[in-house]
Every structure is written in structure tokens, then in C-alpha cells.
Symmetry: C2
DNA sequence: ACTGAAACAGCATGGAA
DNA sequence: TTCCATGCTGTTTCAGT
């Protein structure tokens, strides 16, 4: 993982469909040398996958919210993990420092969607307390990767 | 934007390098029909870009943190926006409801990197108060898209 | 809007340096 | 690890439905 590998990842991050010779021109390497580096970066896990960043609006998911979670005492953590992993609305879920246990990033279609989301979590017995923060606008927007179950 | 378009985006989200005929097989369409749909989705902005999801660890950015920001009263909001957009560590920055003005998601190399980050924000006169939450582990990890200035 | 075929570009591979 | 040469897969375009 040298400076050229970083440059290649950066170029691919901007546009993963750039040709190998294009990238080669930018880093002063032949196309096949670039190909070999990308192959190594992929097998080593430095590049996890090539994907598409979609517009949540176009997919009718205009609401972005962050939800703080206090897990119910004695809640099944393993069950919670697989629940979160499979849930189509949960873009991210992190175990965090501070007064709350988890921070989630969710995409939903409407404010009613947030209520339904929290109700579902409660029904599953995970939730005791939560706090929801809604993003009004984004100065720097993160990528939106459509989850499998979300179709 | 019908169900087939969603399916195509979902398939590309899993692996943007799947061939058009592969995708065509999954949605029962010819390769060129799929190509035409992807072209439309891209020009309409529903697909923003094809990109690579990298491993922050491999790029020496193992620390993920969320930073709440109270903007200094009378701070230049436009300047703050371009500062945030250009800053290599800031993966996301949202204007949010609740007691804080902004929520940022940042990737840094070490805890010292957080301190340096906050000091820089303060020097620029944006920050009055902030609170930092560190992600200990991720139940559902978001994608990491290397920013241009980060190389 | 979709199909199928033909033309083209880009990728993958192997051998040499 | 890199380059070059080449066979081949996948993309793009276009005429037809």
C-alpha cells in the first residue's frame, strides 16, 4: 500500500469506470501494472467492492435520520446485530462511546417511516430508550448504497 | 423509476462490475435494454456515480468518530460549508435538528488526529463547542469512499 | 421501449525484461 | 514488479419490431 495505490483508490472512488489506461496515465504506469495493483488491492481487502452511489430522493427515501439507541438490559446482542444487518432502512449502526449504546443512520420515506421503524425495534424487544435526530440538509453528503432488501 | 430500475440499482450496489448480460439475466431483459436503463438512471441523477468502497484500516484511518458541532455565533456559514466540503477527514456533515447545529462523520488515523481536527476547526473560527463520539465497533458498517484530498 | 447482431473498446493473460 | 502483445469478453451502437 504505497502512494500509488492510494492514488488509484482515489481515482476509482471518483469514478470506478475509468479505464485502466486512463488511470495508468494519471499514475505513470501501464494499464496492466494498474490492473495488477487493483487485483492485489481487491484480494487483500483494501478495496472491498465496486458499487454505485444512488440518490435517496430518486428512490423515495428523502428522510435521513440518526437514531441513538439504549439497548434493553438483557437484550440479545447477537439477535440485535443480525436484526440491524438485515434491516433495509439501517445504513449504518455503530457501537459508540458516550451515554448511548448505539448510533444508527437510517433512510426512510417519511416521518411516519421513522415512527414505524422505532415501533418495530420496540416490538422486537431491543429498545428501551432512543433519541432521533433528523438531517435538515447536508453540507457534505455521504454515499447512499441501496441495501438488498430495500427493493 | 420502476421496480426493474430499483432491482438494477440494487444489483449494481452489490457489485458495479457485473456484466450487462448478467444483470439482464436477473431482470429478464437484454443487455442493451439494461444498458439503456442504466444510461437513463445516470443522466437523471438516480445513479450519482460508480465508486469503490475501501477499507479505512488499509488506508491507515482506523478511527471513526462522530462530532457534534455548535457553530460560533456570527460564523461565516458559507465559509464553513466550503471548509467542510474540502476537508479530507470529513466524510459527512449534516445540518441537524436538536441542540447541536451540525453532525459530522470523520475518519482519522489516531485519537491525536481528532484533537488536531478540532484544533484546526477552532483556529478557523468555526467552533465554539463540540462533542465527540467514537465508534468502538460497527454492527453495520457504512461504505468508505476515499476523498480526493486524502491521498 | 426492447431485441439482436455487428463493431468496437477495454480487460485479462502470458512471456520477457 | 513492470511492460508489451494478443485473444477474448463486455460494452455500445444501430436497424428493426
Amino acid at each position: 500500500m504505497d502512494i500509488i495505490d492510494r492514488k488509484i483508490i482515489s481515482l476509482l472512488a471518483q469514478d470506478a469506470r475509468r479505464s485502466l489506461s486512463d488511470i495508468g496515465g494519471a499514475v505513470e504506469l501501464s494499464a496492466s501494472a494498474v490492473n495488477e495493483r487493483i487485483r492485489r488491492l481487491t484480494t487483500s481487502g483494501a478495496i472491498r467492492r465496486t458499487t454505485v452511489d444512488a440518490d435517496p430522493q430518486a428512490l423515495d427515501l428523502p428522510i435521513l435520520a440518526f437514531v441513538w439507541i439504549a439497548l434493553a438490559p438483557g437484550a440479545d446482542e447477537a439477535a440485535f446485530r443480525s436484526y440491524a444487518a438485515a434491516h433495509p432502512s439501517i445504513a449504518e449502526c455503530h457501537h459508540v462511546t458516550g451515554p448511548w449504546s448505539y448510533l444508527m443512520k437510517i433512510h426512510v420515506g417519511s416521518l411516519a417511516g421513522i415512527e414505524a421503524f422505532l415501533a418495530d425495534m420496540k416490538e422486537h424487544g431491543f429498545l428501551v430508550r432512543s433519541e432521533t435526530i433528523i438531517a435538515l440538509s447536508s453540507v457534505v453528503d455521504g454515499p447512499f448504497i441501496l441495501k438488498e432488501g430495500m427493493v
